[in-house]
Structure formats: structure tokens, C-alpha cells
């Protein structure tokens, strides 16, 4: 069944679907990254990456 559908499918529509899919993902990620309170979280995270842990002598 799946094979028959694929065989009969007009493939020319795939690039358009792919492009729309990407635009959706991209816009989604951008909106997501600007959610409320994100700036403070990002500030903490990016500064904690500089920290190796406390060295015990």
C-alpha cells in the first residue's frame, strides 16, 4: 500500500513541503527562544560553562 502510494506520488511537491517544514521549525525555535524569562536563564547557563567546579586542595 505504502509502496503503491509512493510510486504514484508526484514528487515535485516535496521541495515545497520541505521548505514549509523548515520555515515552521525555524519560526518555532525563534519564538521559543524569546519566551518569558529566557534571558536570565541564558545568562546563568552561559556563565556557568566557564566554571570547572571548585578545586579541593
Amino acid at each position: 500500500m505504502f509502496k503503491e502510494v509512493m510510486a504514484a506520488m508526484n514528487m515535485d511537491i516535496l521541495p515545497t513541503i520541505a521548505l514549509l517544514l523548515f520555515v515552521t521549525v525555524f519560526v518555532g525555535v525563534v519564538i521559543w527562544s524569546f519566551r518569558k524569562g529566557s534571558s536570565k536563564v541564558y545568562e546563568n547557563v552561559s556563565s556557568s560553562a566557564l566554571d570547572d567546579g571548585v578545586i579541593k586542595k
Partner: protein
Amino acid sequence: MSTNLTNPSQLEEFSYNDKVTKWFIGATMLWGVVALLLGVTIAFQLAYWKLNLGLEWTTFGRLRPLHTNAAIFAFVGNAIFAGIYYSTQRLCKARLFSDFLSSFHFWGWQLIIVAAAITLPLGITTGKEYAELEWPIDIAIAVVWVAFAINFMGTLIRRRERHIYVALWFYIATIITVAVLHVVNSISFPVDLMKSYPVYAGVQDALVQWWYGHNAVAFFLTTPFLGLMYYFVPKAANRPVYSYRLSIIHFWSLVFIYIWAGPHHLLYSSTPDWVQTVGMVFSVILWMPSWGGMINGLLTLRGVWDKVRKDPVLKFQATAITFYGMATFEGPLLSIKSVNYLGHFTDWIVGHVHAGTIGWNYMMIAGILYYLVPKLWKTELYSLKLANTQFWSATIGLLLYMMSMWVAGITQGLMWRQIDAGGRLVYPNFIETVVKIVPMYWVRAFGGVLVLAGFIIMVYNLIMTIKLAKKDDTEEVFAAAPLNSSSEEPNATAHRKLEGLPILFTALTALAILVGGAVEIIPSLLSNNFVEKNPNVKPYTPLELAGRDIYIAEGCYVCHSQQIRPTPEENLRYGKPSTAADSVYDRPFQWGSRRIGPDLARVGGKYNDMWHYRHMMNPRDVTPKSIMPNYTWLFKKKTDFASIEKKVKVMKALGVPYSDEEIRRAYDLAQNQANEITKGLVEQGIPSEMKNKQIIALIAYLQRLGIDTADKE
């Protein structure tokens, strides 16, 4: 984090496994020298054909795959593992999951590299670019990769830092995607221990292979290095990344887009137009996240530009990011069909990939090594002056490399398509376009020497640094709060929680990379009208099949394409454009990626057998000034007739329509055809004992190429 420090009673003590990082650093230095030395060797071989010294094991066709494998998987691979293991432990505030898996990963990977270094010069190859290693080594790669994945994910799960920093995201994407690419592209059917045929044929094999090949660049040479950039640049500059928000957008767009771009290696080929369009469009879109990442990396250096002048770490990193920006500008440019029309199959592409591997990977690795070695051995760098010498040597060498390849590529590309007012080719002899660019090959080789010399200087500098360091193997003890005691963040958003969940995050990343691959590849495997049937195209005869394996073993595809593009000049030079039906029995496909010599898709019948015989003995006999080496061993080594029946059987199992009769008589059929060809040659003075030599099987294959669908007049 600050809340953790206020409650010291809750701190857990732990140490980092830096031993494995040190091993990988040593391996990076060793294999770096090997990979660059191989590159310089084959660069000189193109400038002067005798430099294989008459030996089969050192010919360009066999050494170029070794160079690319050594550069990507040995040199860059070991550097990735060193950087990932060092940074992951610190970003997770946890020791690597297992010391055993770390050692297993290290020694397993080195063993694979040694296996590659032995098999490729012997001509044991699958003939698929950047995936040349035969099936037993492929299985070893999969096993070691799984060990790496377990070791990495285990560390992530045991982490003491709630948030998974963006560098780790890039590592996760690398680990999953490389696993998927390697497994899907390597599926094959073994003939014996050292030979296999892929399950995909022709157009399908081309799509899978370049989906793999392109994403090997994306997920082996790019995403791990972006992760390393997001860790080591802020560390070296001692300031947080310019924009964490940008890094999130960078990550998701890059991972989502990259996987779609593979078909830009197949523009103007016999793959369907819609696949080519997808590949081109996504390649151009890729420009955006690439530059987003570049800008994020460079702007992290805001306010420390004075340090970039003095500190070798920052100097190499800033240079690497700049070249990354340049190479990711050139890539989308070359993916535009009309630019690709000129650039494809020329040295422009070779220059482009080296702008990436030397400019981005080599420079970034140098920066990371200059950072890690003094830190891990608790000392200062031996000589700043030597580091500066390397910087200038490598940068000037790379610029010479890129510029000579631009000139060579554009010159040759233009000469190939030059047509006079009467509609004839201005340079009908391919060799004219080769002779023209040989001076550029000397410039390129010289540039390569500078890049290699710089690397050797760095290795010396680092070894001296290690030698002068105080011997101290004690592991420092660190402390951090356990994950469950760190603040619970009751008001955390869904997104924040997602970032904290490694398994779900991994699944989403896998989804992002699988969508693109699925849409591009599954139709080619399922759809019946993907390849137009042509009843004239018949399977290879048993002898031709044996000859084809010799063609693959010698790496002929490294210099000769088998794909005539649908353009007027190609039609004039090579004949009717290639169709999908032409390569329906080609396992693996041999379309190639560079024309150092002419296309061979329709070479069958173009010259007589004697021409081929003389050409393989000494190409300059029939093509004056040819830069192809003499293949004298083909006249001494015997064709492996004994295995032919097995080969035909495997092909039949893969779906090639051989009859049972053909399989049973495969040996005799091959012998008969060899006798037939030899008989014709003996009349022209060739000794009759040539009939069981490899040259005859190779001639049988070459004379078959493209004749099934050539215009019959």
C-alpha cells in the same frame, strides 16, 4: 550555581579523567603529521606523475582515499574526541562514565586507523568516497562509536549541572547523526572478508552516498567543532558566549537544514530534478545558520581583541572562525546550479574543502591544543615565537592552496566548455586543459608544504612543553553539588525542562536529522518511476565485473567521473548525457567527483583494445603529456577468476538479473571473453600469456562503459 556554593556540606568530590584526553591529544599530533604528509605527497604526484615511484601501493588512486580518511577520521577524529572528553566532563561536573570505555574507545579507534592505513594502499576499498573502508572495519567503527556514545551519554546522565550547555547539544547531534549515516551508507553484501557490494545501485547509491558524504562534512567536520567553539572560545577569552539565544537558533536551524543539502553534489546528474532542487535550496538556506554561528563565535571576542594579537589560542580560534565563515559562504555559492555548472568536477571544489579542513578544522585544532596542553600538563607553552611561526606558515600555505585551486578550477572549467562560433569545442583534447593547470599544482603542493611545516613546528613546540613540565600524574579533586540537591526551579518553563532532559532532547535531534534524509532517500528506494527503465541496459558480463573491481581497487574514480552532464559541451566532448538507467547495475556507482582526467561514462568503443593496453602501460604513449602514472602491475598480476562465480552470485542476490546458467558458467564465460580480447591483441604483437592478467579484465570493463545506450547510427 551560587546557591550551591553557599552550602558546602552538600558538595560531592570527584576527579576528571584527563588521561584519555592526553592520549587523544598525542594521537591527534601523530595522525596530523601523517595525514598532512600524505596530502603533500599526492599533491606533488599530480604535479609530477613519476612520484609514485612506480609502485602500485603509492599511486594517487590509492593514496588519495588514505589521505582523506586520515585527515577526517584520524587527525580530526582524534582531536574531536580529545576536545569532547575534556569539555563534557567540565560542563557536566562529572567524571567520564567509564574508564574502561574511554580506553576501549581510544585503542579501538587507533586500531581502525591502522587497519585503514594497511588496507587502502593494498587496494582493498568499497569505492565509495569517504566510506572506502571494507565491511569488517565498518563493523569495528560501529562498535567503537557505540562505546563512545554510551560513555558520553552516561556522563551526561550522571552530570551535576542541571542545564545541558549548547556545546553538548552539538556533541549529541554529532554522535547520533554519524551513527545513522555510517550504518545506512555502509550496508552491503560481503563477497569475502575483504570485498563487498552495496545494497544500493546507481542513482540510489549516489543519493545515499552523497547524503552520507555531505553530512560527514556536516556532522564530523562541522557540528563537533561548533560545539568545541562554543566551549573553548569562551574559555580562552574568559567571557561567556556572545548570545546564548543565537546559539539555540543556530543549533536547531543548522541541524535541521544540513541533512537536506547532500544532493548539491549531484547537480546536473541523472538524479531527479526535484532532488537537485531540494539540495540546492537547502544549501543556500544553510548560509544563514552558518553565519549565525560565525558571528556568535567572533563577537564572543568583543573586548579581548588585544589578546587575539598575542595569545596563540585566540589567534588560531579567530582565524578558524573567519575561515569557517568564508568556506560556508563558498559552499552555498557552489551549490547554486549555475555556479556549480562551472565549478563541479574542477579543482575549485578541492580548494573549497581545504578552506574548510585546513582553515576551520586545522586552525581550530591548533587553538585547542595550545589551550589544552599547557593546562593539562600544568605548565606554560614552550615558545610563543614558534606558535606564531606556525600561524603564519599555515595561513600563507592555506592561502596559496586556495588561490591556486581557484585559478586552476575556474581555468579548467572554462576551457572544458569553450565553444567556437561554429559550435565546436575549442579544446577538444582533454589533456590541453590539464597541461594548462599543472603550474598551479606546483603552487598548491608548495602551499601544502607550508601547512605541514607549521604543523610539525607545533608538534615540536607541544612536545617540548610536555617535556619541560613537572611530572605530576595526580588527579586534581573537584567539588560540586549533586544534581538532585540543586535548585528545583518550580517555575521552570517547558523549554527549560527539555534542555535538561538528555534522552528526549536526543530523540528530537534525531527526528530533525531523519526527516531530511527520509524525504530525499525513501522515494528513491520505493518508487518504481524513480529510474526510467531501459531494456537495452544489460548486466555486466562476469569478466567485466572482475574488471570493474580492478577499476574500483585502483581508485580510478578518484580522477575519472562516469557521469555526462546534460549540457551542450559535455555532449560534444563525451556523447549523450548519462541517464539513471545507465548505472542501474552499478554497485557501487562510480560517478566520481573530480575530473583530473576525462569522463569515462561512454569510453566503451571510443578507442580500440590496443589503445587501452598501451595507455595503461604508459599513458604518454597515446596521450603525450598525460599526468597519469604507468599501471605496469596490471600486466603482471593475475585476474582472480576463481572468485568470479561468487561475485556474480552475490550480485544476483542483490537483484541483478543473472540467470542460473550464467552463474554456473561464470568462470568459463570470463575465460572465453578474456581469450577473445587477448586474441585480438596477440595479432598486434602482444604475448598470449596476458590473457589471465588484470589488464584484460580492465579492458573488458572499459570497453563496455556506456555502449548499451550509446547512439546507434
